[in-house]
């Protein structure tokens, strides 16, 4: 099933400047595998050392944070919208 992934500006250097990428996949993990196979430079930003979701990235499926769903196993409906967003943080 086809879903759309929105890419934040900081990662568009890895996607030939594309802001939205359409891929097929039944789960978030499957979609990540697909998009990483097309744009290998994304891997270091999406996947942590343990193979799970990178800690400095937030992923939403249709406005729900996948950390509160089933993580990378979250199932996708056809036409789902996936947003990849960098964690924005700092401190004095």
């Amino acid at each position: 099933m086809a879903v759309t992934i929105s890419i934040p500006t900081v990662l568009r250097t890895q996607t030939d400047g594309q802001a939205n990428v359409e891929v097929d996949g039944a789960t978030v993990g499957a979609v990540f595998d697909e998009v990483i196979s097309r744009f290998p430079g994304l891997k270091a930003n999406l996947v942590g050392d343990d193979g799970g979701l990178h800690k400095f990235v937030n992923v939403f499926v249709d406005d729900e944070d996948i950390r509160y769903l089933d993580g990378l196993d979250t199932k996708l409906d056809d036409g789902a919208s996936i947003a990849i967003l960098p964690a924005v943080a700092g401190g004095a």
Partner: protein, 145 residues
């Protein structure tokens, strides 16, 4: 890859007031918010179309994390307006308006502008920066009508 730098951050009086006001509202914790505007070649132009106060998910006087839901809302708003998220501002409650080592290490996007509002002294002090490959460059702020 990084295009020419932003020469000046241009804020309206209202935008400036929203940013500083949100920092006071957040006391005693640090406050944070996102800036929307156009980019050229992946770099903020310095023109700001929207200032969006966000929740500090850390609820801390020492650190901030923009609440992920606020980040999502800002991204959607940017998409609707045909602009981008071009920066994040935050407060330093007890230090100067200069990026901390944590700010530098965690700077998310080399194309963004990073305003910091110091509330250490009697009057608020706002200064803004680019942070590219851990190198800090100040961006002058111009208040426009």
């Amino acid at each position: 890859m990084i295009a020419v730098g932003v020469t000046t951050l241009r804020l309206t009086r209202h935008q400036h007031a929203v940013m500083v006001g949100h920092c006071y509202d957040g006391l005693p914790d640090e406050a944070c918010g996102l800036l929307l505007g156009p980019m050229i070649g992946g770099v903020a132009t310095g023109v700001i179309t929207d200032t969006r106060p966000c929740v500090n998910a850390d609820a801390s006087a020492r650190t901030y994390t923009v609440a992920p839901k606020d980040m999502l809302r800002a991204m959607r708003a940017a998409e609707s307006a045909g602009v981008e998220i071009v920066g994040v501002w935050h407060s330093h409650t007890h230090t100067t308006a200069y990026p901390s080592p944590t700010d530098v290490r965690q700077a998310v996007d080399p194309g963004w502008i990073y305003p910091i509002v110091s509330l250490r002294d009697g009057a608020p002090v706002m200064r803004a920066y680019r942070i590219v490959a851990e190198v800090i460059t100040e961006v002058p702020i111009e208040i426009v009508a």
